[in-house]
């Protein structure tokens, strides 16, 4: 057993130099592990742990889900209606009012400018994947009581409580639809400008989204502005707050900035070509 004593001596010597012993720098004792070599002939060459006969020995395992003659579980129920068209449904990843307030507090978002998808994505903390059917952000009511910022924000979906929370602070919220191509431009505008392609116009919403975006209760971008201003009052009465007057606000111009339904970027018209290397814009002469 001389070699074992040597080993333990070595281990003790090593321990004194090591700062600590923990699961990460431990290894099995020498000779404690069995050799995983497959024995041949009389030296353990019988069944090799695969058992006698059947799929264990021949490795012809049954296919996944097969229940040896039963009607398999995955075929037992004929129809799953709640999955109908799931691969076509538009996704709206959530951001909460708390997240938005944190972004504002840590100076990741400038509240003196209108906020849209590109502002949120340019913060570097939120991601949107138009290729995975994500059609924009929905603003959720988490952290609703602590939201204190006055902003002009454009999201793709918002609940009534969220709309009330933003309008209570004197802000403006608008829900707007973007087609996947426009979303692709908004997610990374710098990369898109580097393509050197004229800005296309935004598409109108698909038929099943028209109702949502023409409804003044959702602050839809296609709704009648007069109906929206009336609904702002109605919502203020419902939630019991006094509606701050935007007309008398010093940031009136910023708060009332809105995109045209056919416009993708604020202030840039469709058809223009932006060159970010030479800092020029190519416009049509008319």
């Amino acid at each position: 057993m001389a070699h074992l004593r040597e080993t333990s001596d070595k281990a003790l010597k090593l321990l004194r130099t090591l700062p600590r012993v923990q699961i990460g720098n431990l290894r099995p004792n020498p000779n404690s592990k069995q050799n995983d070599k497959r024995g041949r002939a009389q030296h353990g060459g019988d069944k090799h742990g695969a058992g006698n006969k059947g799929s264990g020995q021949r490795q012809n395992f049954m296919r996944l889900g097969y229940e040896t003659g039963n009607q398999p579980f995955y075929l037992r129920f004929p129809y799953e209606p709640y999955y109908k068209g799931h691969h076509m449904k538009r996704q709206y990843p959530p951001i909460s009012l708390l997240q938005l307030q944190v972004l504002i507090d840590t100076n990741r978002i400038d509240t003196s400018q209108p906020i849209d998808i590109s502002t949120l994505c340019n913060s570097g903390l939120l991601k949107l994947k138009p290729a995975e059917l994500e059609y924009g952000f929905q603003l959720t009511d988490d952290g609703l009581d602590n939201f204190k910022a006055k902003i002009n924000i454009e999201v793709q979906h918002a609940s009534e409580a969220v709309i009330a929370a933003i309008e209570k602070n004197g802000g403006v919220i608008r829900t707007a639809y973007y087609d996947p191509r426009s979303l692709h431009m908004l997610v990374n505008p710098k990369k898109w400008f580097q393509k050197g392609v004229p800005i296309p116009s935004r598409m109108l919403p698909p038929q099943d989204a028209v109702d949502y975006y023409t409804n003044p209760k959702n602050r839809g971008y296609l709704a009648n502005p007069e109906e929206i201003s009336q609904d702002r009052l109605v919502l203020a009465q419902k939630y019991g707050y006094e509606l701050p007057k935007i007309e008398k606000d010093s940031a009136y111009e910023m708060l009332t900035t809105a995109k045209d339904p056919r416009q993708v970027f604020y202030g840039l018209e469709p058809g223009w070509l932006v060159n970010i290397v030479d800092k020029t814009i190519t416009k049509r002469k008319d």
Partner: protein
Amino acid sequence: MAASGKALLGSSLCQKLTQFTRNLYSQPALLSSFRSSRQVQELEKYPEVEVVANPPEWRFVERLLPPETVPQPVAQKDYPSGWRPQTEDGSKAGYYVARTKNHMVPVYLQTRFRGQRRITVVRRVQGDIWALEKDLRSAVEKSRNGKLCATRVNELSGQIHIHGDHVDVLRDYLKERGF
């Protein structure tokens, strides 16, 4: 000479073939910008354009370009979200917990075994890590009415592991202390 003539013939034939295939695919084909693109026409047929240098709309473009570095937070009276800037430098306490690059407190939750084992990890600890471990443990034990809690200190990597989900407690505690 003969070889070059052959090449010329080949190129013109190639051009004709391209025209032919383009005419074949007069309907715009999906996923192919070449086949769906219109042929180049004479310059007069295109609208006149002007290239504007230093346009007044450039501020809208600048707004769309992302910042190259993480912006520094601006000092405010109060922060409604509960986030606070770091005020302590560790000279008083003997230890220091650095903020992340995003100005957040480095307290995280690690879950293993399908969420059955929850471990709170405090990272980026510098200085007397054992004193911090003592303080954090007392804060956690206070929050669970004196019930003991197990901790593990890794002084090499500057991390403290605390058994259980105490992320909110520890984040608030560290923020209160100014870290």
